[in-house]
Homo-oligomer: 326 residues x 2
């Protein structure tokens, strides 16, 4: 039995992304008892996306033997309103002012908690991962973008807009590269997977990264984290240097967050970190040492995310369980 659920009580965690959706049913010990994953096909518009999410949850319930559940927690890209559970505007899913919490609550007849997917992932790591119970935690997830989640006093930080934690758009190099958001020198423009891939393609086309060239050609979308990791294993020094450069910028952002928030722990996740954990964390830690104040960085734990793909569904399940208990 856990603190939050009685024996026999079940909750669902849902992770809604631009490319895939996952639903997992958890028992009172937060062990998975049923799961479903689907591709999202979200570009076909808001209605198919909604149907896809509902079908995934129904399938996860079937996989668990169609039990009754007490509630649903769902992580979605934002910006969204965590109080009302309305998705305000999510370009990748074509939802605009979409009342996700109400839609799920109506379909399944249970209370629903909705929050930003990165917040839910950070919360999952804080509840179940290596940074468990640390006082104040920052989660950083470099991927196509760079997401951030902040937990202060055991609660996700939402701020005035509801969308706090946009650390990917921290300006780190004024007049730096253009970012997807339209401004320049954001962390994302310097260290997202796209930022790394574009450099690697340039290195490859110049003939300095044969492994990348052979496996990805000159197509930036082919440069996946696993390929990058293998190129580094194959001894491609310029590929390694490029990843180190990006990781160091992530480390500068983390150092800034330490100087501002003074968290006890920082958790780093996402595909690039997972594929090249040792190298990535080495650069992040070096940047923290060089850019965070000694008094504030002292004793700060820098840990890799441990829940992988399940961080969001676990954080979401835990959040709804806590809400039900209160």
């Amino acid at each position: 039995m856990s603190e939050w659920l009685q024996k026999g009580e079940l909750v669902a965690g849902v992770d809604i992304g631009g490319t895939k959706v996952q639903a997992t049913i958890f028992n009172h010990k937060f062990e998975p008892v049923g799961e479903s994953r689907k591709k999202m096909q979200s570009k076909k518009g808001p209605v198919p996306a909604e149907a896809r999410v509902l079908a995934t949850i129904h399938e996860a319930l079937e996989a668990a033997g169609s039990p009754a559940i007490k509630g649903i927690g769902a992580g979605s890209p934002g910006p969204l309103d965590p109080t009302t559970g309305v998705i305000i505007d999510t370009p990748n899913i074509a939802w605009k002012n979409f009342p996700l919490a109400d839609v799920l609550s109506k379909e399944f007849g249970v209370p629903v908690a909705v929050d930003n997917d990165v917040n839910m992932g950070t919360y999952g790591e804080w509840c179940f991962g290596e940074v468990q119970n640390a006082k104040d935690v920052v989660g950083v997830f470099p991927g196509t973008g760079i997401g951030g989640g902040i937990i202060i006093g055991g609660k996700m930080l939402h701020g005035f807009s509801g969308a706090a934690g946009e650390i990917g758009h921290m300006t780190i190099l004024p007049d730096g590269p253009y970012c997807g958001c339209g401004k320049r020198g954001c962390l994302e423009s310097l260290a997202s997977r796209i930022a790394v891939s574009k450099e690697l393609i340039a290195i490859a086309v110049r003939g300095d990264a044969p492994y990348i060239l052979e496996n990805c050609g000159t197509d930036i979308t082919k440069v996946r984290s696993s390929v990058i990791a293998k190129a580094i294993e194959a001894g491609e020094k310029m590929v390694e240097n490029e990843v180190r450069r990006a990781a160091y910028f992530v480390g500068i952002a983390v150092a800034n967050l330490i100087n501002i928030l003074s968290p006890e722990a920082v958790v780093l996740g996402g595909g690039m970190v997972e594929a090249m954990e040792a190298l990535y964390l080495e650069e992040v830690k070096r940047a923290i040492k060089e850019h965070a104040m000694p008094f504030l960085r002292k004793g700060v734990k820098v840990a890799p995310a441990r829940l992988g793909d399940n961080a969001v569904v676990m954080g979401a399940a835990r959040l709804i369980a806590e809400r039900l208990r209160k």
Copy 2:
């Protein structure tokens, strides 16, 4: 009568700085009823500094007619431990592990609340200034250094180390100018009064700022905020551009804080802001527009500090009053 103090109840607010100390006795409406200010002579060591602080509080009490007080709130440079009231290490006052709360409590026989001076100042502005009651507030005070205070959910943010809010050491320009902290490209290295003054002296010595040259010579310590303001009024365009450059960097830092924390209000204070408020806020707002995400900057109030020198004593007095009430 206020929410926090009964009629007839008094508290003291104390502002301890490297160069001066101020103590003010407040009535239940947080109106000042007695005050004393002294130079700190803090370089003479920890004991004279302690004696100076005690004497200032005694004089403020005398000025108020030697009434009984219910408690003392004190703001001091940090790092310090806000829980125990121990000043850990404050180079400008030669205090090391100095138990300020205990010393004051013993001398005056009342409960004492100690916090960072910038936190107390931000708290004062949040309690009594233009950003009153805003949900989540960031205070930025550019001066010799650049101090920051963060209020989340009505409480000062301390974090794991107790010293959160070191926004002056946010890295904004990697490989930028050296900072007093030893690293490079901190906000302070780009926008503190020293950062501005060094550029103005260079401009003056080149003959491009006659007003500065006439009034300050080539001595960087002579370049005060009031002189800078007058040089700009006198039409010295390069002086104005330099202040705008610094204010814009402060604005980038504020934009980063908006992206990270999503506060409802930002309050800017300190000598430079006070002396050149319109121009300074114009650049800060421009940087916010260019560097903060639209959804997070929407509706954020950017306000000048209104309490001037009294922000710290007022915030400190309010804090101890709240603690007494709880």
